[in-house]
Amino acid sequence: MTDARPNTTPLVELDDVVKHFDVRLGAFGGVRGVVRAVDGVTLTIGARETLGLVGESGCGKSTVGKLIARLDQPTSGAVRLNGTDISHLPERRLRPMRRDVQMVFQDPYSSLNPRMTAGRIVEEPLLEHGIGDRAGRRESVRALFEKVGLRATLTTSYPNALSGGQRQRLGIARALALEPKLIIADEPVSALDVSVQAQVINLMERLRNETHVAFLFVSHDLAVVEHISDRVAVMYLGQIVEAAAKTDLFARPTHPYSELLMQAVPRIDRGRQRRSAPVGEVPSPLNPPPGCRYHTRCPLAEDICRRETPSLRTIAPGHAVACHVRAP
């Protein structure tokens, strides 16, 4: 499970995936623009692997998750699930594959139907895929509740009667109902209080060890991603700038943006800081800089960085970096 490089077909393969959104700008919607949310992403997720995807708002990490779940279709490139390109598969052929990929969202308040009981919410995916009879489904719901640490008496409760942590457990139970091969968790603990956050992280780790489900863990929180992932990919303005097994990444962050992120995270154990503020802000994905997208903020930028987009180059087994200076 800790092996980040499976030798068979990976569970998920993204091959030069691009997703552009058309937007209208200006007061009357006259001007058109293109947001390059995802701009040439290539990555794999192995069976049983937890891949962490980190980056700041607008970097495209959530869009990557949606493309893998086929909640959205790429503008170009391939999204393969068990070797089959699902990016333009018709819904009829997609349906059986949907079972394999489930999502857990950030906001357990808005991602659960307020008019359904907790039990029904977890039963719903089983119904939708015509799995089991009534008694069988009831038994599955009971088992799923137990698995995520929800009391069985809560099956008749409505989401608004549950705490934030309980709702997130419910969202996880729903995601597990179809025994998926991959769960895409998009900021699953960001809306929770610290003490509850630890409960949910531990739950996800335990479930992963028990069920061998793979995870794509999308988050802005570097420390949480480091804790839970086997491998981590760092995104900046629609592109992956560095990807490695987590111990390699956190021991040797090589892309200047990975370094900046790690320096910016406040830490409980290094005392009062008088460090200077990081340089600049993320440019708009509507009009990303040419060449390396990070060059406008990068202390190492050279001429070539302003002209040519660096590609991901392998600098050590399983460790890839897109930087003209650090990985020439």
Partner: protein, 350 residues
Amino acid sequence: MTGATEATISASAMPDTADAPILRVSNLTVRFEMLARTVQAVSDVSFEVKRGETFAVVGESGSGKSVTALALTRLLAVPPARIAAGEVILDDRDLLSLSETELRDIRGSDIAYIFQEPMTSLNPSMQIGRQIAEAVERHRNASQSAAMARARELLELVRMPDAESRLAVYPHQLSGGMRQRVMIAIALACDPRLLVADEPTTALDVTIQAGILALLRDLQDQTGTGLILITHDLAVVAETADRMMVMYAGRKVEEGPVDAVLSSPRHPYTEGLMGAVPRLGSSLHADASKPLAEIPGLVPALDRPIAGCAFAPRCSYATGQCRSERPALTTVGQDHVSACFEHARIGTSP
């Protein structure tokens, strides 16, 4: 006063050095009285903030930290809120007994607030230069042109790039981090003696957060203003604050110099919060695969009296005494207090 060393250093450059507190809160108690129930959101909370000092108030949702901050200048809606007891002393005046008109002068000019979400605090249809200038005019008898000049200075002070041309932009044209800089500029418009920042960086990306925290620290060094930093993030506290108070279920459960509290917490809730957060670099340590330390259970409801210590049902150190008797704050170190019968055992068991 070990907790004040930083403050003393920065204050020593100031004309009137004073270790005397600029704000003293005693026995603050706030209730929300609704038709069916009464929630005691803050119970008997006391603390002080000194000049140039950053005082962190730490807790999770429902701990009473934000209610405490709003109660200082009676910003809570009455009803349902009622400040049932306590004093908030600023310059020998009890803010809780002032008239609304007198308080309005205090807000902004003596105590200014910075909130989490700048977009909801800014007027979306007014240029930011005008919004800052209005804050200047409201509290100083400045002419319009003088106020606008001051607005530009303030934007430069908060390191807004290209300040002059930004005076004419609207809030939606700015990023979240830049909006928060505008909010800080408005808060600084009248040189407040005390800034209250309620989760000022929680909605921001980590690189932007680092910039805002660095800015707050620099401004404090320059102006000597006191800062109450309300946050759930102990790492932010570790890097920015001098002293801290941890709140649970509306009460202060631990208070002391940041270094002392974080290096040897004396309340199980503080210890629990510290263990519940993964730390950057954890994968490089031997115990990398260890699960996080959970605080089991949930925060208690505050609409009925709690027998004993409110944390006892979630506490691994709890004894029979904890469940029947409420622990008072006791001194556990220099300037360090904890409300825990078992404080000597913290860090020794499970």
